[in-house]
Symmetry: C2
Subunit: 473 residues, 2 copies
């Protein structure tokens, strides 16, 4: 297969002409054309190698040969739909069940994290017969109509008038690390929302939460938060849905699922999974309890998902689990994640702009602030850093409400050397004269204000980057 | 790859234990385990071959080697997400654009027909700023929360209190083949709904319709219907959405898209596509006009679909188009579809139970009736026929509001000989004494009644079949 069909300029023009512009590119002012990838490395049309720190989907490494082989072998043999009996779907469900608390034992296979979250919503509503959903501020649970309704990250920009619980961010949130029990305190904010909803005569179907909020800014939740929230939500007749679409499959290293960081005894009522599951193949899943699945069956309506659980998708899912075990990728996530955090904390000690370093396993965030007391988000500086690292052929991106958190969610084969390389380059950017000057003195571009609610609107990272680069060169 | 991991009985037990029971099996009383497939043939764990008359998803034939090769080659090379620039997505969009009216030129790639229809709904609502959707009775547009809201086939069973336009079924509907202009008459029913909605102060965002209603009973729409409905819907400020998830990609033979049967000049505002697109791989798409895409971009919110439009999905989509052309599968659909209809019409002339034979290309329906005057649906007989054909190793199934329509939507490589085989077997069932007697005399099992609305509830085909077989043997 030829690696390039069109010259890059032509590809870009065709894309602008043919693909909806709501589908954005990375580095939109100077997009990267990637034609080949292996492990944690991407290659552009000239053969230039990029270190990939963000493709959490390509969990066991881009184009892992064992995954490709499993897919090809099954594609040659059979890819019928799941209305025929087949071994792969049941074998895969059994393998997944072995990673989960016993109570979570009924599986539904679908094609995307969004489909999984939508089905979770249907399960929760059918089981509880209630409608309302409580979510966290800045949450994102998918691109479907039903999910935008429960994703402040999206619907705020569209309507800006729904309610959500505060994000339990102990770095800059309502209760911080100096609070004696932030888990309890944040759980109580959910309790308050429930009470308020009930006073209005509304009933709670569910609490939806990412086990580690991702677009919210790579947030590590305080201990005790989930068990307490689950207690409140269940008392109100609702169920607890853990969205593991970004965080599952051993990314946190010490555990297979990030919700397990909240204690071995804690068990959600529904768990959704997605991105890393098929190493890039569209494969996702919902798992729940017998009671909840039973209520869904009892409505008498078939659930048919055309591609969900087909033999090829399941063969790929099984291969991903095999590679994770064979290559001890959870162990690697612990080792490399800890080393990366250590290196970043050393940088934090030297550079005041690095306000926080946090993470578990290979889910790591580096939060930039203009000032360590006010914690003013260093949005422009984060964009600049990402842009400078791109020039060094390292792919990173930002997250969080102000795009001031540098996120690391690399393929799980990310190495100690990769961690050292990226940390050295960050250090270099932070130390270089021009950069320090840009960071700390010259950059006086106040954000514009949103007409409707006067909230600050920061420039798109890429636009800003181009202006800064123009200044520097 | 070994073809069987577990004994069939064990697979079934594991499935009952691990997979949500809302996910039903074909032939639930005696499910078929399929371990291998090629072209239009399925093979069970004992090597028994089944003729597949229903897998429209496996469009160019199960496990087509060119599709598998294209997938494997691209999986080895790259499967990054569509935020990086890549040739496959733009090349594929251009190839699809060549099959569509010029106006339909902006593409969004997603993973399932349901995701496509949900996005179409978002596009329509964003563009028109209206909410209401008009659908046809018995329509099914997907399994997502937003789509069950617009799918009478599903929501009737759940709530039974929404509104929809009558299904333009000229065999048993409001206006029949003896009507001078059923297309206009049915279009006027949509106009009436629009008027009523507007009197209530509601505003129409869209008319959603399958270009040939499938679960509604393999219905061929009367000519003139779409252009007239589109005129009414647009005059009310709405857009016309053609759901081609089941019917697109040349299934009708004479045209690439089934909406084109309504005239070369007719052009929907949005088209959704899915099932056959990736020959079993989760791949779907929405195409729309520049104006509608522009309105969606203008809301400022990114649309990101993790797997949508990735290089592997697009390589597979391209391979499907290549095979269709190389093997002239549209030509085959015309030839074989016509022959199949001809053979079935010969059976109709002999057997009063065959009330109607209809179809275009390889989208064919055979409607069974207890009586050609009253058109009482022959639900039990249809279940029996499907069951008897299964014993002859032919996979068929029923559709339509009363499961009385035998549907043919085979892989597009279905042959003249396959058509002859299935028609001969149907003939054999219709002719055999025991069957005639079951069909026409002995079967006096009136349907039970739904408590809520007194509509007839027919037995599940498989349960019924087992009772009948028990009687006969």
């Amino acid at each position: 297969m030829s690696q390039e069909m069109f010259q890059k300029e032509r590809t870009l023009k065709m894309r602008e002409r043919l693909i909806g512009q709501s589908c954005r590119l990375f580095f939109p002012q100077d997009p990267v054309k990637i034609v080949r990838a292996r492990g944690q490395y991407l290659y552009d049309e000239n053969g230039t190698q990029y270190l990939d720190c963000i493709s959490n989907v390509h969990h066991v490494g881009h184009c892992h040969p064992l995954v490709t082989q499993a897919a090809s072998a099954q594609m040659e043999l059979l890819n019928a739909n799941a209305r025929f009996l087949h071994d792969n779907i049941v074998h895969y469900a059994e393998r997944l069940a072995a990673t989960l608390p016993k109570k979570l034992c009924i599986f539904y296979f679908v094609n995307s994290g969004s489909e999984a979250n939508d089905l979770a919503l249907r399960l929760a509503r059918q089981y509880t017969r209630n409608e309302d959903v409580i979510v966290l501020d800045h949450a994102y649970h998918g691109h479907l109509t039903s999910l935008i309704d429960i994703s402040p990250y999206k619907f705020r920009k569209l309507e800006g008038q729904k309610e959500w619980a505060p994000l339990p961010d102990t770095y800059r949130g309502l209760y911080r690390r100096d609070h004696p029990n932030p888990g309890q305190a944040y759980a109580d904010t959910v309790k308050d929302l429930i009470d308020e909803a009930q006073r209005k005569g509304r009933k709670i179907s569910s609490f939806f939460v990412e086990s580690l909020p991702s677009v919210g800014g790579q947030v590590i939740l305080p201990s005790g938060y989930f068990p307490k929230v689950a207690e409140y939500v269940r008392a109100a007749g609702g169920v607890f849905v853990a969205d593991e679409v970004q965080t599952g499959f051993g990314r946190v290293g010490s555990h297979f699922w990030a919700f397990q960081l909240q204690g071995e005894d804690f068990c959600p009522d529904i768990v959704t999974m997605g991105k890393p599951m098929g190493n890039g193949h569209p494969l996702s899943c919902v798992v729940t309890t017998e009671e909840i699945a039973g209520a869904f069956t009892a409505n008498g309506v078939e659930y048919f998902n055309t591609f969900g659980g087909n033999p090829v998708s399941c063969a790929i899912g099984l291969a991903v689990l095999d590679v994770m075990e064979k290559e001890d990728l959870r162990g690697n996530a612990v080792r490399v994640g800890n080393h990366l955090k250590e290196l970043l904390k050393q940088l934090q000690a030297k550079h005041p702009i690095i306000g926080d370093v946090r993470g578990v396993g290979l889910f790591v965030g580096l939060e930039l602030v203009k000032d360590r007391v006010t914690l003013t988000p260093a949005t422009e500086e984060a964009a600049l850093l990402v842009g400078r690292l791109k020039m060094k052929h390292i792919c990173l991106s930002t997250d969080g409400p102000w795009n001031s958190v540098i996120k690391f969610k690399p393929p799980m084969c990310f190495s100690l050397e990769d961690a050292e390389r990226v940390s050295a380059e960050i250090s270099h950017v932070c130390e270089s004269d021009y950069c320090t000057s840009v960071f700390l003195q010259n950059l006086k571009m106040p954000p514009t204000r949103n007409n409707r609610n006067n909230s600050p609107v920061y420039m798109q990272p890429a636009n800003l980057l181009m202006r800064l680069i123009a200044k520097l060169e």
